[in-house]
Symmetry: C2
Subunit: 158 residues, 2 copies
């Protein structure tokens, strides 16, 4: 039986609470479904897995892609307990689902002590204006590499 | 013996080429070093691992954090063969290195067929203006969850 969007979001919120209470990480949960059937779930595991990339959405995307045997979530919907941070929103774009739903907002996350809003502001700035120093170097070598990629036969694009 | 920034970037470019030629994924590589010593590396593994989040920087950050037993890369430098996409740049912010270096630019990546630049543009738009539909729902439940998080004793923040 297929779940409704609201039921799937309630599940994402439940996973978020469970993960938080179990000490796995922050209060975030995510569910991925296709035609109302859950194919992947995840809660934030940053502090328990020692992995700053282990946000709920990333964990759920990895699990769902493993289940599907694909690097694309075409036709899937993502339910996440909070508006994705830039890392997770980027991951959602790369995964190519049809839609996502969110409960809390980035401002709610900021009020609870998380950096999401701050990182959105940084990403929108030109590289030299950001607080995190970034330095370009050896661009010619990267251009050689991209040329090899463009000319490579039988490559799998994503 | 400690490597120089340029040597570490050359290694990132070498890993990118190796990964591409081995069919692991796109032409991207990343190295993470502390005091000139490599503590983590990664190449793009999206198409071979069926994981849309397996960009070189994400793979390298996960490996380096595993090596350090920490979810923070304090005092570390990240060398990446191309300017990070929004997902990877977000991951870099969460990992809190001291600096990062990049060879190719997001425009170079776009010219080679990758969506980085396009995703940067999407992220900068307000939610309703993006091409990927996103729908808010059940925000009150998320606010309850954040309240529980704020009141939770002995939590590990990140």
């Amino acid at each position: 039986m297929a779940f409704t969007d609201e039921e799937l979001m309630m599940r994402a919120l439940e996973i978020a609470l469970e993960g938080m209470l179990a000490g796995r990480g922050g209060p975030f949960g995510s569910v991925i479904a296709k035609d109302g059937v859950i194919i992947g779930e995840g809660s934030n595991e940053v502090t328990s897995a020692n992995d700053p990339t282990a946000h709920a959405e990333i964990v759920a995307i990895r699990n769902a892609c493993r289940a599907l045997g694909s690097f694309r979530l075409e036709g899937c919907r993502i339910y996440t307990s909070c508006e994705p941070c830039p890392m997770c929103l980027g991951a959602i774009y790369w995964a190519r689902p049809e839609k996502f739903f969110y409960a809390g907002t980035r401002e709610d996350a900021a009020a609870a002590g998380f950096d999401d809003e701050d990182i959105y502001e940084e990403l929108a700035l030109p590289v030299p204006s950001r607080r995190l120093p970034a330095e370009p170097m050896l661009r010619d070598r990267a251009l050689d590499l991209f040329r090899e990629w463009i000319e490579m036969p039988d490559k799998i694009t994503y």
